[in-house]
């Protein structure tokens, strides 16, 4: 492994954003033909570093060499691609209504007689490309109808067609099911072994790092802390390097769930924003002191389910009751008053106001309380400020300033702010969606502890997550959701992660024999 020639070299690269030094004097060499994992907490600077390589931003200081050639001041994605660097982003950049071949050709369309778009040639090229790299796709499929795993495959092919031999994958498994993840890893191993590709993997899932990579670079607060051979390390050591201290995931559970049903959903149906059925007759019950985990690939009705409970979306059928009182037709204001809090999955669209200050974001929902509103008219700025400071301290929200807009927070701190606000209502019912998505390890540990504190205090918690580790760690009961239906239900410990994958992709409990 040592004798592989370097393919990408960062020397003393720094990147300054307003107020944040995102990369601080990073020097790193990536060798040809290796799988290099770049790990670190959110905001550690790993994505920034790769954006510099891909030309999305320019380093403030330092130089980057690709295959021995220094990037210029006018480095941009086009030039990066010409130098053989391709990037697959976490959020795919595909046109849903185009076919696979059209998406792959987009921007580099072969022309017939110098003018006409040559669809047939594209289809042929895509088939050949897929065969060569072992990434089978049907060029005529419409991308919007493909599974997320296949869409990702299209993204990879797109990069390969442009001649990429250095492939950057940004959090590639965040949206995949366990079996899709396995498939992706097989593909990566094959293109590295057979085609001599170099793969740079940005991730914070340490299990995947151990499984797939040759070497690991760990970043923390903009600095490259160290580069180690994967074979010479383990998950615990990496986690400690990332966070700067030992991380211990303890068993936090105390006591058994209560008997009293607090949140009951009965035969709930709802449509999504396009008016298509998204939730199709879901029934579930959450007891006091119980965490019910909803497992499913994203987009199977989880968002709509939580929105219905919170009154943000009107159901087409069915009821939601809280402690026996029906809330189905109430607005969020009334539902909050009945003791429901929600951590929504979409932080910036629903969970926060990016342009309002951190203080204001923390206060929302309590602004009419006497201590913050003199005579119900005057906004008590000072009281609000000191309240926000207290919450920020209690939940370890690291902000540049509480009077700065919320958009100045890192993803993890935004999430902590939302958790702080929602947990401070002392609601007996918590609906929690994707609590730790895009959040770093230290903050995950913290948020999990807070959720368990709430559970142990007797709250009824509905937990929706795409992260199986999280669900298995926290839930007392697991249900799987597929295309808006509950497909199976297990008590914690009855099933493992591999087994549950079957129900997340449409298998139904009691039908295993036929499958």
């Amino acid at each position: 492994m040592q004798d592989l020639p370097p393919i990408v070299q960062f020397s003393h690269v720094s990147m300054q954003y307003p107020g944040v030094l995102a990369n601080d004097d990073v020097s790193l060499t990536i060798r040809k033909g290796e799988v290099f994992a770049l790990v670190g907490e959110n905001g550690a600077g790993k994505s920034t570093l790769m954006n510099l390589l891909y030309g999305l931003q320019k380093p403030t200081l330092g130089t980057i060499h690709i295959k021995g050639t220094a990037t210029t001041a006018r480095h941009d994605p086009q030039r990066a691609m010409a130098m053989g660097v391709g990037m697959v982003h976490q959020h795919f950049k595909l046109v849903p209504s185009f076919t696979v071949a059209q998406n792959i050709a987009l921007g580099m369309e072969p022309k017939r007689r110098g003018f006409f778009y040559d669809q047939r040639r594209v289809n042929r090229e895509v088939l050949a490309l897929g065969e060569r790299f072992g990434l089978a796709v049907n060029p005529r499929d419409v991308v919007g109808e493909l599974s997320v795993g296949l869409q990702q495959r299209v993204e990879i092919l797109k990069a390969l067609r442009r001649g990429a031999d250095v492939l950057i994958l940004d959090e590639p498994t965040a949206v995949l099911t366990p079996s899709e993840t396995d498939e992706l890893f097989t593909v990566i191993r094959r293109i590295v072994a057979e085609q001599g590709m170099t793969v740079i993997l940005i991730t914070h899932k340490l299990g995947e790092v151990m499984q797939l990579s040759d070497r690991v670079g760990v970043m923390r607060r903009g600095k490259l802390i160290g580069v180690v051979d994967t074979s010479a390390t383990d998950e615990r050591k990496l986690a400690a390097m990332m966070v700067g201290r030992d991380v211990i995931f303890d068993e936090l559970r105390t006591g058994e769930p209560g008997e009293q049903a607090v949140l009951t959903v009965q035969n709930l149906s709802a449509a999504d924003d396009r008016g298509l059925p998204a939730v199709r007759g879901i029934s579930l019950t959450v007891h006091a002191g119980e965490i019910v985990g909803v497992c499913g690939v994203e987009g199977n009705g989880q968002t709509e389910l939580t929105e219905c409970i919170m009154g943000m979306r009107l159901q087409t059928a069915g009821t939601v009751t809280i402690n026996g009182g029906e809330v189905s037709r109430l607005d969020p204001r009334a539902i909050r008053a009945m003791g429901v809090s929600w951590i929504p999955d979409d932080r910036l669209r629903t969970g926060l106001s990016a342009k309002a200050t951190v203080t204001e974001n923390l206060l929302v929902g309590k602004q009419r309380r006497a201590e913050f509103s003199g005579f119900h008219i005057h906004y008590q700025k000072k009281a609000a400020r000191s309240y926000a400071q207290k919450l920020a301290d209690a939940f370890d929200i690291r902000a540049g300033g509480l009077d700065l807009p919320a958009e100045s927070l890192s993803g993890g701190n935004m999430q902590k702010a939302i958790v702080a606000r929602e947990f401070s209502f002392d609601s007996p019912v918590l609906v929690i969606s994707q609590p730790t998505r895009g959040v770093d390890i230290g903050a995950i540990e913290f948020i999990h502890e807070k959720i368990m504190e709430k559970r142990n205090a007797g709250c009824a918690i509905l937990l929706v997550s795409a992260d199986l580790d999280e669900l298995f760690r926290l839930s007392d009961t697991l249900v799987t959701i597929y295309e808006g239906r509950i497909t199976a239900r297990f008590a914690a410990g009855e099933i493992d992660k591999q087994g549950i994958s079957y129900y997340m992709t449409g298998g139904r409990q009691g039908e295993e024999a036929q499958a």
């Binding site: 403030t60 943000m312 969020p332 629903t350 008219i377 906004y379």
Partner: protein, 378 residues
Amino acid sequence: MNTGFLQSVRALIALKPKQKLTAQYLLSLGVAVLLAFLVGAGIMLLSGYDPITCYGAMFQGALGRPRALGNTLAKTVTLCLTGLAMSLAAKAGIFNVGGEGQLYLGGLAAAMVGAGMEGAPGWLIILCAILAAMAAGGAYAFLPGWLKVKLKVNEVVTTILLNTAAIYFCSYVANGPLKTAERGIASGTAMVSKAAWFTPLIRLSNLTTGVFYAAAVALIVWYLMTRSTVGFEMKITGTNERFARYGGIRAERLMLWGMVLSGMICGIVGFIEVFGLHHRFLTTISSEFYFDGMLVAMIMRYQPVGVILMSFFFAILNIGGSAMELSAGISSELMLIVQSIIIFFMAAEGGISEMVRAHAAARRVRRAAKHAERGQAL
């Protein structure tokens, strides 16, 4: 009316001012104003005028004599109130482009009350006229607000359309059923009871006691927007309506109220014009005052204090421009060019600031690196 109107709407789309009023923004605003004056000076030189004389004439004409200052302040009142009306609605996340129509209706309502209550004490007439103006303007804003909140009809479109309807309606009324019997008045209603006229504060100028009413309104709006619980909720709604709803704020009600209050303020502007200046409703009561106010509001990013100050500056350009035309002989249209250039630079502000920031950041890092090297060398 159409060109100025369309320009305003275009400027609205281009500026999209949502960010806060930062020190940096104010700095670039200052630079933009300076540059605009320089470009204006260039144009003067090209057309054979001496810029120093011209600008001197402008400031002299706007501030030099009590009468001129009075006119400038009267103009400030109109710009400031219309600007605040725009800001208040925008704060709650709803765009009121219909202020012109609300102003007309407010003026008409005030004029009718003022004429109809002949014989009543002045204070009572004024009180009733204010209420009538607010009711007319507010009701006319309620319609698009309600359509927006309940049926998601784009309020920019409806308010623009309602402007035309209101102006033609007022024009019809002032030329037809309510036309004054007096001779020499082409299109206007009967005169307001003399007991209720505002007293001029400076002889021969447009500045009247109406300025106190305006100041009171401005103070209330400022308090509402920046110091009240409702203002807090408006800000949350204006920056993210979905978040506001989820947080238990009655977002729709706030947006509707923002619109209605905005319409009420516009009605008051009409009232002040009628009672202070014309003493009757005339179809020429406003020449796109609201769109000028809208521009001021957008340039100052809907910050009340900024709107008040910028109104004064625009009033100087406006009043001084006419004076400059008379004394220095250069067309007052030049001031429109200066205004447009300011707007142009403010629209480009985002990009310019970004450039300045990037340079500053690079300098900081380089300096830090140099320090570190020196530290190691020691």
